[in-house]
Symmetry: D2
Subunit: 383 residues, 4 copies
């Protein structure tokens, strides 16, 4: 593999997403051998030395750092990958772009549009390669939905609906904030389920069905106070525990979205369904290797919802893996995104979702929160 | 059976619902032999003699009428059953009540709250037995949900969601109005999917989860003009083709509801799901003999959604039918409602949903339409 | 309805099947109004007067008898319907045929081929209309399978598999024999699951896929002794609790069949699957309104198993019932068989499965039992 | 990771299984960081230099060989992993064991019992660590089944049923033999679906439910002649295209097994179901992250089949991967087997299935083939 071009990675963060991204870098070479670029795990960064050292050893990074600025300052880093809590995305991304590094960023782009816009500006100004890990686009079934929708098979789209349902915060004993629980802290996360879960649904929706024009939302915080893990004190919960909104797409379709962490029995039930004039499609993450399709063009007496197992080599990405009938998992969506990013370096095409795409999702999320707070419809500003 | 008390029925209408109700009357004796009352198919009424005569012969009515006032005027009628288009419900119900007849009415109660309120007043004043056919309460799986919810098993309720998805009006060639298509005519129906489909979901929801406090809705009319079957002319479509709303329940739960006739691939997909602190339940009409349940009290390593086949004799109504594993159908919900109505005559207890219950659903429907029209939240007035 | 021809029924038996058949007679007029013949519930017969009197009253029979020979002797009976335990089928059927009555018989035809052959002979000699209630042929999804198979859509058939799984005899406390439990008594039933459950699977299989040539079987009796309900004594269990066999069909397909009453969690899981060169079909009774189909002719990237909801008016029998999306139940298969029998009286065509068809199934059942007993392959004698 | 003990691997083969094993070696370090041993990809071997060189480069082997004897002769190899066609397993395994190498072998162990027995003898004599890749034991849902069965939760077992259904050889145009198609060549494979597919089912079955005592089988070869890829000539097909058998387990349960490559619509439908007195379990590879369970101990009115998503950290192996709701894939079963093998080197416990376990499966396969050929029951010799 000596002849490959190196893409030297500096990873910031050591949490769950640091693991999925790192796995993506390591697998891409094994399963996408045709790519010109080969990721090299140059360095990983976190504040706590003990933790980052262990992470570096486990995953095979060549070195580690405890200050993200040091990563950006290094000459031997081509790309900075941001896997920190949301409140650090902007500072790191802007500094990295200004230093001429490529920037890969975990979603959501930032805590707010105000924070995200300068990130996009910096990226554009620097002209650096960039991508945001809205990884569900790279689940093969979802990628196939994109192909089918783009083929025109569905005809006019009437409805789009999406859920992201979890149940892990139902217990009032669960603390908020700090290690592993920063997603429950609005200061660190920006919002609750809107930025964490609905952002995924919105990214998929606008990729598949075009931009969202306006929204009407409601949010709820079921548990009003929790102990903060950092301070040890009972504090007001400021995130949204649940969020529902309906909307108009630019193409005239109606949309309805719901996310919550209080849906007992659902773990990561990310779903989507599109109803078109001629056909409908649906998918969910708990059965991620299946795509469901209803085709009105079928013979009338045998029309029905087809459960399509996406494991054949002519289906997206699946020529890279095993044999028909043998499935892949969640982590593979990150491998695919890394592979597509590497490919984009060859072709010079952007690797979507770009920072610019992610800013659009940020705008919808912000309109959703504003709508819920004001109890009124809000334009997204995208049309 | 000579010793049974007779309940002499005068049925108004000969459409689909006239068939389901009549079948209910005829089956109740076969399968609920313990009931004191026995329905007698005294007369059926419709404007077209040829049609009503054929209906009477097919189903075994003793006579027929072509003027509903004649039915009410007859001394040998104990109960009037209203299966007409919605625009005739009020006149018939009020006249029947004033004549001292029991009144059974197909849903929705009326086209508007303004029309429904006098119906309730008349019923109350007359003190006559009454019921409205929100039949889905009597699907055994739904009845069992009610029992489980009432047992407190679910704990605090966080979420309620319901859909009623169809696809039968997608073709722009479909005319509106007249025979079999009056549901597409706002003048006859009052509204589109809101009164036809969401009313069912709302009735179930408030039965299972308490009253809805306020709503925020959106409606859409996808096909703007259709030929009217009566006039033969292209006219503006005035019904709602689709309706989505979110809401607060009085108990603090968030609700989200959607109905449409443009969801390609769904025929009568009436669904409901309740997420509680300790357990969740869901059901849909396409798999009507199944109840799905997730119980957090199960051993942690084997928690999951259980698909419960409702065919055992210890489950609601099922001691009346066949053997474990053998299912019943849609029509049985009407048989059960008739049986429960007959039973209520024995006990003197009201047979819910009563006209009063149905008025509450009407108020929610009206708030939904008003919310959509004004693009703002509306109180239902029920809290 | 005075102009209809009467088919005057004498029903022998008051158990579960007496109820399903009677319901069939009563519903056929309501839902198949075009038929020339109208069943009249003339008399019902059982040994215990109290029980038969109650049955007659509940279901509306004009009279009752306590001796089946009296039924056959009556001039006002056109057709005798046999719903007794299996050990009485032969005597009644032969006597009825000799008296020139039409004969409808619950399955299996008899306890053995030796018993069944004279029944067929008597029927043929008398030339009377006849049918055997292998009712699952008339589940709309199964009828549709027949149409699809006959169209040639599947190409060469490679595999046929069928199960009938129950769990109601797992408890060793359950007695055998007598009222409601005669199916556990080999003397009354002929065999255990082979005649009770597999006979259904075999009838469907040979209807859909042609005759079975040879079989290799195993049976098991898990509980060796039970209290007999009649004698109150512990006696050896002589029925087969479970039976598995594989076989060759005349068309070259391999078959595998299994029935048991010891499959914890399955109530009446009657299943079938056919794998053909170009397409496959499957169905099960627990989801009886669905047909599943895989069609290799679909576009390669969207091939999958389609779940077809059988509720549309262009699907078998469904123009008689409700609207798309609203399902029917187990009992409807009997209504359909009655309707088809009435229709056969108009057309003069036999109403299959005839006694002759049922004898073929009997021969397979007997080969299965013989194979299990001898631990060797047995020819069915049908090829 | 410098402090880890090395396990230096010499891999023979570059086909599909060479890829799954190699991926297992590479992932085990990332996800099982606590293990003392670290696999080192020392060398890979195949006859064609071009192919083996490319494989070595893609996957990061330090070297390659073109003669398997050279691998065994190398001092820097601790363990030989055999991923060749079945006809080479015995020679390599015996030579490796005699050279004191650990031996890991892809299943089935050999083409026959006669070939497999000396392999077990050699392994035992050498006293080397060994394992056979019946990988499905390490699917978390299957591992959990083992735990539940061993807990006694199911009570007495009545039934075991398993399928392995594929459809990739339906076309008569498909050639047999040679590269990628040696599984269709009895000379190379030993048998058809029996050794390729049923062997997996049998290994799982005997692990979960104890040994199989005797079998009665049927096999079929649907396509009688195919072009051989090596010779280019039309030759007789000598493998079994399909195989069905029923059997007795030592514990008294009945078993039924079926495998085929002619089940249109099924890709790798490896299924199993166990019916016990108190509970039942089922699983299939197409929904590999789910376990289904029916528990008779549940409240009577809410008994049903539970669909358990196996993604929680308290379920087998899942503490190593992602978060609740996010699934893993087929390849992970090999990662788990590698990790368990590495662990066994620490503990000194055998890593099952051992060569000895695999010999038992071989004996059942051989009894199955003999039974089919002789059309008679055959003892497995295991009881």
């Amino acid at each position: 593999m000596a002849h490959k071009k190196e893409l030297r990675i500096g990873l910031i963060g050591t949490g769950l997403m640091a693991r999925t991204h790192t796995n993506g870098y390591k697998r891409s070479g094994d399963f996408f051998p045709e790519l010109e670029y080969r990721p090299v795990l140059k360095t990983v960064c976190a504040r706590t030395e003990e933790k980052v050292k262990a992470f570096a050893e486990q995953w095979g990074f060549e070195s580690y750092e405890t200050d993200w600025k040091a990563v950006i300052a290094r000459d031997d880093i081509d790309a900075v990958d941001i896997c920190t809590p949301n409140d650090m995305h902007a500072d790191i991304a802007i500094a990295a772009a200004e230093a001429g590094k490529m920037v890969l960023c975990e979603k959501p782009l930032a805590r707010s549009v105000a924070e995200a816009q300068p990130m996009v500006d910096a990226i554009k100004k620097a002209g650096v390669a960039n991508t945001v890990f809205y990884n569900y686009r790279r689940i093969p079934a979802v990628t196939l939905i994109k192909q089918i929708v783009d083929s025109g098979k569905l005809g006019k789209i009437f409805h789009y609906r999406a859920n992201f349902l979890q149940d892990w915060t139902i217990s009032p004993e669960l603390p908020q904030g700090g290690e592993a629980l920063w997603r429950l802290d609005a200061e660190a996360a920006g919002s609750g389920v809107t930025g964490d879960l609905l952002a995924h649904c919105i990214d998929s929706a606008m990729w598949l069905n075009g931009v969202i024009k306006d929204v009407s939302a409601v949010t709820e915080t079921f548990i009003k106070e929790r102990v903060h893990q950092g301070t040890g004190e009972v504090q007001k919960v400021t995130i949204d525990d649940a969020c529902i909104f309906h909307c108009h797409f630019e193409n005239g379709a109606l949309g309805v979205f719901e996310a919550t962490r209080y849906a007992r029995g659902h773990k990561a039930l990310n779903t989507l369904e599109i109803n078109g004039e001629h056909a409908s499609l649906r998918w969910d993450l708990h059965d991620m290797n299946y795509l469901e399709m209803y085709d009105h063009a079928d013979d009338a007496i045998v029309r029905g919802w087809k459960r399509i197992l996406i494991t054949d080599s002519d289906q997206p990405y699946m020529d890279k893996w095993w044999i028909p009938g043998t499935s892949i998992g969640y982590e593979h969506s990150f491998v695919h995104q890394v592979a597509d990013f590497l490919k984009s370096l060859e072709t010079g095409e952007p690797c979507e979702p770009s920072f610019e795409n992610a800013l659009m999702t940020q705008k919808v999320c912000e309109a959703v929160i504003n709508s819920a707070n004001s109890k009124s419809w809000k334009d997204t500003g995208l049309v």
